[in-house]
Symmetry: C2
Subunit: 123 residues, 2 copies
């Protein structure tokens, strides 16, 4: 089975997280479930990776945290939510543009296996 290696995704964990925060503020556990869902279980972000991304991105000013109750009645344990900032939105857009470029470049080095024939000799 083909698996996505962490080295490959490395530059895009932050982008994935931000893409979810573009819609609305959210928190760790929910975001990790979202990523799993959106990727059709093809990618599951590690907890430690996720939370260290929060720390980093807050330090960089891409997100802001606030603590809130899970529901309006104030039941349940409080959670740390994250909200994307304007700077985060810009960063996200930049990463999207970067992705387009990266994709184009990497693709030039990739061979698609359309035919797994005995191997044609073309030279």
């Amino acid at each position: 089975m083909v698996e996505i290696s962490s080295d490959v995704i490395r530059g895009y964990n932050d982008t994935m997280i931000l893409s979810i925060l573009m819609k609305e503020p959210s928190y760790g556990y929910e975001i990790s479930k979202q990523i799993k869902l959106i990727s059709s279980e093809k990618y599951v972000i590690k907890e430690t990776t996720l939370y260290s991304a929060f720390t980093r991105m807050e330090k960089n000013g891409y997100i802001e945290s606030f603590v809130a109750d899970p529901d309006p009645e104030g039941n349940g344990k409080k959670r740390t939510y994250y909200r994307i900032t304007d700077s985060g939105r810009n960063y996200y857009r930049d990463k999207c543009a970067e992705w387009e470029l990266t994709k184009e470049v990497v693709e030039r080095f990739i061979q698609k296996e359309e035919n797994t024939l005995p191997q044609a000799n073309e030279e």
Copy 2:
């Protein structure tokens, strides 16, 4: 200007190098020029990254090195050439498959900026 960050390309330096070695054996300097050329100068691999990739991939059995003269007359300084192995070819093909998957997944988190309109409210 959009630039490809090293974190993004991280998982694909080896793949790029191998894609060049798929054609014929080559050596460091030449490979770095090839990558620059193929990517239309959009990506330039750092020397240290390249040579440490050689060490790693030789250790992993993906490539083999041999020292040879630059031309048949034996002129010039000898170079260290690298040749891809069968194992390297398999690894390359696996990475190509992985790329297709990664692309699909990342793309779900990417917003293409086709319209930079005032932002439509759809909900």
